[in-house]
Symmetry: none
Subunit: 424 residues, 2 copies
């Protein structure tokens, strides 16, 4: 079974945005066992979109488009697909009602907005409408059963709309389509997530496993984490799953606790579980990261069970007044120091009556570096109130831009907190 991806948008051709949707769709189609031989990007031009769709229809069984479904006059994908296959376009009352309801709830229910969005209620005749919980453009599926044409799946361009529509509607539909044609794939893939170890050191430990051809093991650095994708191809899903499980066991036995999770598991999710299981309450104090650590902790639904809150103490005054960092520490060691990091973690713990406090203070740049503490220098403090209390500070040098340094610092704090809890 062959698929083609058509990405629609002049902004893609001009390079104003990078086409991450094509990578996402390519990955997901591969996971379904569908081959993708070509992807095409085309601008917001009716004739050229029609050309691209017709060409893909001559080569592929499935066409997935992204973009060009919005309310404006240069959104043309729906219209061009209908023209390519001679399908009439009709008004869908259900879609229109949902749209008006959505606009009303967002406070855009004025006649002007409702009229401006009317185009979005037009759908190809006989198409299946995928409701979009995150925007106004629905996804659309056309299965040309009688004409023998390809299955066409149209998705909106913004990734935050495309991805939920893919998982919630398009992928299940394509799976069913493949099954109905006895083409279901037996590719199974799992990602092991590792942290706290460098990529060369990690690869050294599994040198022989990385050479395996089925299942394959592909390491890939993502921020401070390393993702190891294990992919097996087999006749049945069960068989592929078993092959992946065996490789997972082999990799895990080599990498031990550096593996913190699998697939969608995140560092903050794993941490949350450990905190909750141990009945611990966490608080944070952040300087250069200014809330990024707290924001990651709260990514996890239900994090209020183990997270009290944090202080973004960007100024020295707030480190002293709110977190109680002693003036001599600020004066003698400075705000970016091991001493200040521990005092901040301690202060967060006290302020929020928490069991464990984590702090981050550093120099994110572009200015403010010194020979002793260059840009990228970050101190992470941990303070735990238990018996006589324990604390530690870790110094790191993190590379990259201002935002790279801040993101890596928040991630490093998660990694260090996990190690702290494991060694507890």
């Amino acid at each position: 079974m062959k698929a083609e991806i058509i990405s629609v948008g002049t902004e893609l051709l001009l390079g104003q945005i990078v086409n991450t949707n094509a990578a996402f769709l390519g990955q997901r189609l591969a996971a379904l066992g569908v081959d993708v031989y070509f992807t095409t990007t085309v601008g917001d031009n009716f004739d050229r979109i029609v050309d691209a769709v017709r060409q893909a229809a001559g080569r592929a069984d499935i066409i997935v488009t992204s973009g060009g479904l919005g309310p404006t006059t240069d959104d043309l994908t729906k219209e061009a697909v209908c023209a390519a296959f001679n399908i009439p376009i009709v008004n869908d009352e259900r879609v229109r009602e949902k749209l008006n309801d959505y606009l009303g709830r967002r406070g855009f229910g004025n006649p002007e907005a409702v009229e401006g969005n009317a185009k979005q209620a037009l759908v190809p005749k006989g198409s299946i409408v995928l409701e979009n919980p995150c925007g106004t453009a629905p996804g659309l599926i056309i299965e040309m059963k009688t004409t023998g044409g390809p299955l066409v799946v149209m998705l909106p361009g913004p990734p935050r709309e495309l991805e939920p529509l893919w998982y919630g509607g398009a992928e299940p539909y394509i799976s069913g389509f493949l099954k109905s044609r006895h083409q279901e794939g037996a590719i199974y893939s799992r990602v092991l997530r590792a942290a706290g170890i460098g990529e060369p050191a990690l690869e050294k430990r599994i040198e022989d496993l990385v050479k395996s051809s089925n299942p394959t093991v592909a390491p890939c650095a993502k921020g401070g984490e390393i993702h190891l994708r294990i992919t097996a191809k087999a006749k049945s899903h069960e068989q592929a799953l078993e092959m992946v499980q065996n490789m997972d066991d082999a990799v895990s036995s080599r990498l031990g606790q550096f593996i913190f999770g699998r697939d969608q598991e995140t560092l903050e999710g794993v941490l949350g579980r450990v905190l909750e299981e141990n009945g611990l309450c966490l608080a944070a104090a952040e300087s250069c990261t200014a809330g990024m650590f707290c924001a990651r902790i709260v990514n996890v639904p239900g994090s209020s069970k183990y997270f009290a809150g944090g202080v973004v103490s960007y100024s020295d005054d707030s480190k002293r007044d709110i977190l109680g960092v002693p003036e001599p520490i600020l004066r003698e060691h400075g705000a970016v120091s091991a001493e200040c990091a521990v005092a901040m973690a301690h202060g967060a713990c006290e302020r929020f009556k928490a069991d464990i406090g984590v702090s981050i203070t550093g120099i994110a740049g572009p200015d403010g570096g010194t020979p002793e503490k260059p840009v990228g220098t970050v101190f992470i403090g941990i303070f735990e109130k238990r018996g006589n209390s324990r604390s530690a500070a870790y110094r790191r040098w993190l590379p990259g831009s201002r935002s790279d340094i801040r993101e890596r610092a928040a991630e490093e704090a998660l990694i260090l907190l996990r190690r702290w809890l494991l060694e507890r």
Copy 2:
């Protein structure tokens, strides 16, 4: 003058890497005044690369390829281009010598490596070789003067090799090619960034301008912002710039203060400038966003001049104890309420001795919604200490996943704070 980009690599089709080269090349070609109507991605397959090259040759004057120039057997771009145009492939002694020299300097001068790389010294007959300072695969240019075929530029896939070869060889060559055909021109493009208005309402205001064909005006929603890209084509850069400026003036006069910035300007950057100019100090109190608002403010280098810090008050206890939200407010109105939002903003202001406090409290889901306050309900509070002090709370319903809601809430707070400061 039209160009097409062909990206070669199965890893691109599988989505294992994102195609940033296409965006880079699209940008650079646009800057030269060359139109790109299609880009194609094709895997490491000889026949399919030949097909893609032939198709592009039928539509474009310039073809730029990336990838598939390496030493291994699945690197096939050079061979496929030669096949598509019936050009013989020959050994280039100068390339071979340079290659051996490069391998030697990197410590790879052993016979095995030299032999393994021999394929890289093969070049299309009559082609221009662009020396690669960062790798082993040279760039190649074929100008088919006698046959009237397109100009073909082949570049290696790794961006750290492609980009220097582009700037150092390909772009100057293409510039000369355009000049020799009196086709030099300029495209100039600028993005106006708008916020606080829905896309249809915005488009209604500039309905006629959006129909302009040169310069073009293309609106595109990005999170809570709308980006309006104005692109002009003209004989000279100065002329294109003037056309863009005139359209900028026209659009700006219709949209007024909804336009907050241009090109790389961010909401937080613009806000920071206003705060600094007015000598104001900002503090924040965040519940559901848990630091995302503060983190955005601190994206701006030098934000310590106007930002004191914030409290992530995820628990009710911390709202009461640290921010001083009165117990009756929490009891009678709940933590997600206009009353609590104002009290939190007030508390942040007091705590950090700031002039303005901003607060965010809401229900990010997936649980916790009620019929009166469904998931996505967010209250944003602003409190300003000036004379008798002023405050306000804004209720919003924001769509999407937990993380969408939180990101949109932080963005909405930035938008509301900007409006507050403008109306001050």
